[in-house]
Symmetry: C2
């Protein structure tokens, strides 16, 4: 793509991401209202974990993959919120002292710092459970077969053979030397599966044909890897004032990353290659997939 055209599409993407983030913010606010109950602190902390921040990349992928098939925006928004609940739960648990022990997230104190550790454990548990409650609700889709498919796919992406398994690998990587293959698998499980679910959710909601579903799956695969390499690069040279989180944590923990294995230059090249490849998988959707294609560029060029 010519530089001018790329700048234009990135500007359009920024607007679209802002609108999507606003929509998801409203949906989360609706699904997780404030409370006057004795246990209100739980709801307050769950809202703190989910509202007011984040790129909302996964919800954006849900909304835009659903958009390819003309899925009703309010249905897609519920699924987008569910994905964000799972993403935020994983961050809250990941930040715990026993895990990454992070004090800062999106430029604010993490949940266990702002509230306390016990509350943070329950916030994560509550958000994960809420995600499934939202998906199984008839308001998400009239067809129980589609609701069930969403629950099954999310559970697979988030569970022991997906994100949770990846987090376990991440713990093991602190004391074990991982090669390129193991690192790729770790990242596919830890972040790739949830990104893949976000793209495939649109295909499930929209009853995509097999080739369409496969195209989204391939896109998600390359996008997820590109995203992770870019994340590793930000851990090396990101600005904590922009990313909202500390840098050089992986290096300090002695963990293998794409950057430690490939070096900065080759890692950056690889990320761009994957982003281009991701976009090309969507050629079968013609112009309808322009936003999703632009996201691929965004994830490798972002500064946060």
């Amino acid at each position: 793509m010519a530089p001018d055209s790329q700048a234009n599409s990135q500007a359009a993407l920024a607007t679209a991401m802002g609108e999507a983030a606003e929509l998801v913010e409203q949906e989360i606010d609706h699904l997780l209202p404030m409370s006057e109950l004795t246990e209100a602190k739980l709801f307050e902390a769950m809202r703190y974990a989910c509202l007011g921040g984040g790129k909302r990349l996964r919800p954006f992928l849900v909304l835009n993959s659903a958009g390819l098939f003309g899925v009703a925006r309010d249905c897609a928004a519920r699924v987008a919120a569910a994905v964000e609940f799972v993403h935020c739960y994983s961050l809250v648990h990941d930040d715990l002292p026993a895990m990454d022990d992070s004090d800062l997230r999106r430029g604010r104190p993490t949940v266990h710092k702002r509230f306390d550790e016990a509350t943070a454990v329950l916030v994560g548990d509550g958000l994960l459970t809420l995600a499934f409650e939202v998906l199984a609700d008839p308001a998400t889709h009239e067809d129980p077969k589609i609701r069930c498919a969403l629950v099954a796919a999310l559970a697979k992406a988030a569970g022991m053979h997906g994100m949770v398994g990846g987090q376990m690998l991440d713990l093991i990587a602190e004391t074990t030397e991982f090669d390129m293959g193991s690192t790729t698998r770790l990242q596919r499980l830890k972040t790739g599966e949830m990104i893949a679910f976000s793209c495939c959710a649109g295909a499930i909601l929209g009853r995509a044909s097999q080739p369409q579903a496969q195209a989204l799956h391939n896109y998600a695969h390359d996008l997820g890897l590109a995203f992770q390499i870019a994340d590793d690069l930000l851990d090396i040279d990101g600005d904590p004032a922009v990313t909202g989180k500390p840098v050089k944590r992986d290096a300090a923990a002695g963990k293998a990353t794409f950057v430690s294995i490939l070096g900065v230059e080759r890692a950056r090249d690889q990320a761009r290659l994957l982003a281009d490849q991701a976009a090309r998988h969507l050629d079968i959707f013609d112009g309808r997939a322009d936003m999703l294609k632009a996201v691929a560029t965004y994830v490798v060029e972002r500064r946060q």
Copy 2:
């Protein structure tokens, strides 16, 4: 019931509970096999958290409520395992240092003692997610409407308006004086909702009529309260060698319990009253509900 007849039914119950526990053990072993993957420690720790112990009360309720409607045993066993996954996840997180800080569970080191704290967080997350994966799987029931109803009901019982909400109340109860009404609500959320789900799961699987579902719901409500009062009594006068966990933890934490509010004698009377009342709700099922009626007696007379 005459003492002899009660002794007989309790003996029959013990046999039936043993058989059900064996069935659930096999199902869990099947759903959560050992692994050769790099992250095998996660699966090992999940198995440690779920296998080889516990009364399996909730799975027993699932199997027997399903039995009222002639539900296929292998379908009910999957739901029973899912309920146990959620129960065990809640125990693993509850035992964490930031929560109850328990070293001992079922007479064995808790997951974070046997493994480590980070693994214990992930074990809980993985088990909770697995429960939904199992319920949404077509192997659990051919009708996606029923699978969806199970997912929705479990998410409600386990989430912020159910068990997780109850655990938050439990934390708040450490520093706030709870009266009888608040204590009842705390216990209904913390343990009652999951017991209710276990009984209602059979009604969902068996497409129960409204009066049948209501009868099971009323039974579960009274059973749950009776169970909790009995638990509070065991916390006072239980034998740690039999219960497998330390005693007098509630009193030490300064928490209001049914026993601290009612006193031992009235609490015991109340538990027996509730157990009788629970059993009577099932009269509409005639002899088919004898096991469930016997469970009501069991939960108040048990020593563990």
